[in-house]
């Protein structure tokens, strides 16, 4: 069954809880220069308006990193997550050049690391660490039906906003 690690920027406050939970779950040792798999940041719009984001692997349906890896380290799971086994990773950084979001990073051993949607946790019936700690519900793990409902709801909300603007 397909699953989606869904991010709703309208609910995010870039509090960083997800980033910390991810580092903890994945034993990311920042003191060695290792990068967290999830990254939160705030962007300021031209009018001074603030926008909040939490970014990690998008688990693209046709993930270019899978085709880009010369060693066959990256695969797609049945659920749609982009997983990896870096036994044969040569640290060539090809996956990084393939990724349109700058996600793959490389640990102290030179091998690729990134978000795997806490696949082991999911296999044990748990949600990913970032989802578990997100205090606003910006990060959720959805089924395909739930994702479609979310997207339709968002579309309806946007349409209503537009109608209101036109009415004015």
């Amino acid at each position: 069954m397909k699953k989606y690690l869904f991010f709703d920027p309208e609910k995010c406050s870039a509090c960083g809880a997800c980033q910390l939970a991810c580092m903890d779950q994945n034993d990311v040792d920042a003191s060695t220069g290792a990068q967290p798999f999830r990254f939160t940041f705030t962007q300021e719009g031209r009018g001074g308006d603030l926008h909040f984001y939490s970014v990690s692997c998008m688990h693209c349906a046709d993930a270019p990193c899978v085709m880009g890896c010369p060693s066959g380290c990256l695969t797609k799971s049945e659920e749609g997550f982009t997983l990896y086994d870096t036994t044969r990773c040569i640290g060539c950084h090809s996956c990084a050049m393939a990724c349109p979001y700058g996600i793959p990073s490389f640990g102290p051993d030179g091998k690729m690391v990134k978000c795997d949607a806490c696949y082991e946790r999911q296999k044990a019936g748990l949600v990913p660490a970032c989802v578990k700690v997100c205090p606003t519900g910006a990060l959720t793990l959805l089924t395909e039906t739930e994702l479609k409902e979310r997207q339709q709801a968002r579309q309806r909300s946007r349409s209503q906003t537009m109608l209101k603007e036109f009415a004015v």
């Binding site: 990254f39 926008h51 066959g72 040569i90 393939a98 979001y101 700058g102």
Partner: protein
Amino acid sequence: MERFAIIGFGCAGYHALEAIRETDKEARVDVYSDTALPPYNPMLTTYYVAGRLPYEGLFPFGTLEDIAQRLDAHIITNTKVTAVKAGERTVVLSDGREERYDKLLVSTGATAFVPGSFADLKRAFCMRTVDDAVALHDALERREYKDAVIVGASMVGIKVAELLYKRGCHVTLADMAPHIFALAAYPEVSEMIEDRLRNMGIDLAFGQAIAGAEEHDDGTTTVKLADGSSIDTELLVLNIGTRAATGILSPDEVTVERGIVVNDHMETSVPGIYAAGDCCQGNNLQSGQTQIIGLWANAGTQGRAAGRNMAGAMGESDGNILHNITHFLDMDFIGLGDNRLTGEVKTFRSEDGGFYLQAVLKDGKPVGFNILDNYGVSGILKAYLIKVLRGERPVFSAEQRGQLVRFGLSENFIDELGAAL
């Protein structure tokens, strides 16, 4: 039941087979290979020689037995296809047998080019095939080389240089081109890399032809340069380039230039005959022309598109651009786009000097990037360049912008890349 043939079993051939099986479980697929090896990745050869990958690691899709079972293929090994009669969709084998198919894929790859002046050498090494890798690997196991000359300052050449340098061997890198990575790097960026290499003690002999080489009875080789000078060495490795393996097709039947010319469906000028991978010229988004873009991922997407079309499902290879990432001697070089295109040059150097970026813009639009030591921004800028070339709205998404800043690019510089668009 349809009958398909795949001639040549590398990255493109494998992905074509996989794609055929996505939609057609019944068809008979004959895969011809002139070796008994599973599909291998030429890019991994230097990693095997360096001891960073076991022999099995050269074969990212597993063994032939696994592949044959998993994808229900008839893999015909150690069998040379001598010709394809395109009009008749017929494969001619070295023993004279002929097999007729409904659709054929030519995925024969490319072979290392060795000029005539080097053809008689007995002790020179190349670096393209598994046999090449095993030969150099075993030679390095047998003895310690004090010095080496590597001809060809390409992505392969630098990896050979790296592995020998790390073994304590004195390396001279030679090339007819005036600079390293001549097909991907801007001259200023090449010079930065060259300075670093010289500082490590690697000698560079660029800008002059290699006239020939002479092997001596004491095991040494004299490499002669066009200016009359020469270099004596214990080890000579040739990485002069590759040539598309197109010989099984007749140019009278099928359009062949440097490679086999294909459309977006990976079909050649003859219906039913497809080509993919390093042997073919697919669409270059930047030039609008067809061109060989000999890269692993490109071969994969082309093979997949070919396989889908052969099986009757629509599949397009959506074109590509020249792009390269090479991680060597603790640095990264990334080249995106055709480095021959000139225009307004914008440069960015991070405050800590940790990375350097050179962008070339034409009419306000980026046409190419060179990046030193920052893999983090490479994929975002590549996706951006492709977006610009496709005529899509050239904006970075919020996520991409956040990541560019995270990896050290300034907001101002990001704005400059899109300001004129």
